[in-house]
């Protein structure tokens, strides 16, 4: 059992009881301190985040609905979050517009996508 009260999270946007149903939103924090509040369902496209936030698990992230990504900068996480919503918006529609990714971010996003397990987005919709 983790002692969550001793964790130094001062600026938790969403607090929740362990017993309450999981909140609708989760917070993703970049390495340089930017916080993004994302629809939980949209963020679930990433199997990694899904595992982190699984309410059955005892991870700190799951209890606070807050994931910190030390290795991602704010700009990269911004794009990642944009992708989450892009996926959420178009996952059931027939015709999907292209999401623009600036060339200067492509390598960092490639590494981030690899880290977040977003290579199978087409198939991980369950």
């Amino acid at each position: 059992m983790l002692h969550t009260s001793s964790q130094p999270y001062a600026s938790i946007t969403i607090t929740m009881d362990d017993l309450a149903p999981p909140s609708k939103y989760v917070t993703l924090v970049s390495g340089d301190g930017f916080e993004f509040v994302v629809l939980r369902e949209a963020a679930m496209v990433s199997p990694i985040i899904k595992g982190m936030l699984d309410p059955r698990s005892q991870f700190v992230e799951a209890q606070h609905a807050r994931c910190v990504f030390q290795e991602m900068s704010g700009t990269v996480l911004d794009k990642v979050v944009e992708y989450f919503h892009y996926w959420y918006r178009y996952k059931d529609s027939e015709d999907v517009p292209d999401m623009d990714i600036p060339v200067e971010l492509c390598l960092e996003l490639l590494a981030a996508a690899d880290y977040l397990g977003l290579d199978q987005a087409n198939m991980s919709t369950k």
Binding site: K91, D119, M123
Partner: protein
Amino acid sequence: MSEEPPSSPRLPAFTFQSRKRSHVSPQSLRFNSSDPAVFSSDDDPGLDNYVEGRRKKRYVGSWFQQHLDSVDSSFDNGAGRVSTVPTKRSLKRDLDSGVFLGSDTTDGEDFIEGLEAPALPRLPQIAPRTVPRLSQPEIVARQKIQECIDRGNEMVDLWGVGLEELSDDIVNRLGQVTSIPIVAKDVAFAPPPPNLQVFLALNKLSRLPGSLCDITNLTVLSLRSNELTELPPAISKLVNLTELNLSHNKLRCLPADVLDLVRPRGKLRDLSITFNPLWRPQRPELCKTDDATEERGRKSQNSSGLHTHHDKGDYMVHWLGRSPLQVSNSNGRVLSEFRLPSMEETPELSESRVSVAVYFDEDSGVPVSLPPQASPGLRKGEAMPSSVPSLTELALRSCSRSSYLRDLDSLIPEGLTHLQKLLQRTSLQKDMGGVTCSTCRKTIVVPLLEWIEWRELLKCSFTLEDAEDLPRARLFTDEELVVPLLYRACSWRCGPKDVKRERCLRRKDE
């Protein structure tokens, strides 16, 4: 000066001294502004003992090309002897003009000997780029293309030159070949119709660069007897192509985009792919030849409503069957049990068979799918159709737009080799002219689905109207091709229609 034993003469030091100023030690230079001291106790109070007098000339030659003057016989023995024979002067021009422009004001110019040039340059130096050298066949090819450009000859004949690769240089030159338009009086000037014919037969090409597919005025392209294993999908950009000869290569299949070129959709009227180790369906009745052709041709004349009117030289395309789907994730890893045999493998002709999932039943005239055990589908973890590309795929597409694509894989940190491989694959595909989804025509990097469809291409030798008049005439020539076409799809929605239906049914059952 009397009792000292005769000493051997000193070996001269090999420092070249300028004639301009005799070497003076710094010590003496400091004091020589005044007269030297003369002492009465000296044996020989001659001034010559104090001041270094004129020294005997020991070197001959100009100041920049001195060598020892060896009149002295004592130099004859000993290793210190340098070549003494003065070289004969010839009237050749020296690079060093020998003109020395010394200034009068600088006295200390002899003292800068201590300065040494730094061994390494301070500023970072640009490493000399290795310029790819032209091979002999390329030089020949360049000359031939240049001749064609000069003469306005649109038939570029590169038969048997021995080319192993089409460099960008050659392709650029091919694009410059145009005929010289005829300018006549009272005739409106019009650009000549595209009529470029390139014959690359009997070379050693193993792949085609995508830039070749940008030469859209190409009408005849012969690649007979090369070592091609794959045709770039970008070939569909060659819309003016009327003849394409691909026989005697190592092709396993053609990209599905080729169908766009074939008449009546395109202009291609001669497609030759004989003598290639093409993938064949496992069910042999799909690639039957001879007798049934006429019969089937008649039947399709009645049933197919797609192209009701066929002209002479048109191709009629029949759908024969389809292989199972190869499903891969964005990393290029194959997830399905079925996987296409690799392009590089060179098995025997008889072994290159691919299993069939759906085939065309001639009696009922509808596609029939085989039971699942014959066409293994996905493994566990069923996917749901979604058209949204993955973030990896999107990032890769963005990478392929970068102009530094070739160097990107070196920026990937250690341990992420699969990303490096992905970037290398992206770079390779960009060189090929890019890969597009066969259904929605979007540029993709890693296709989610790949499958083979076998089509039969029948060439009409008469128009159908003629055939009705001549009931006994053979409708079609015996030129018949069963072509495996490689389809790529970016998402499940772009996949084959019957699969979607199949999958939806299965989901309802669950």
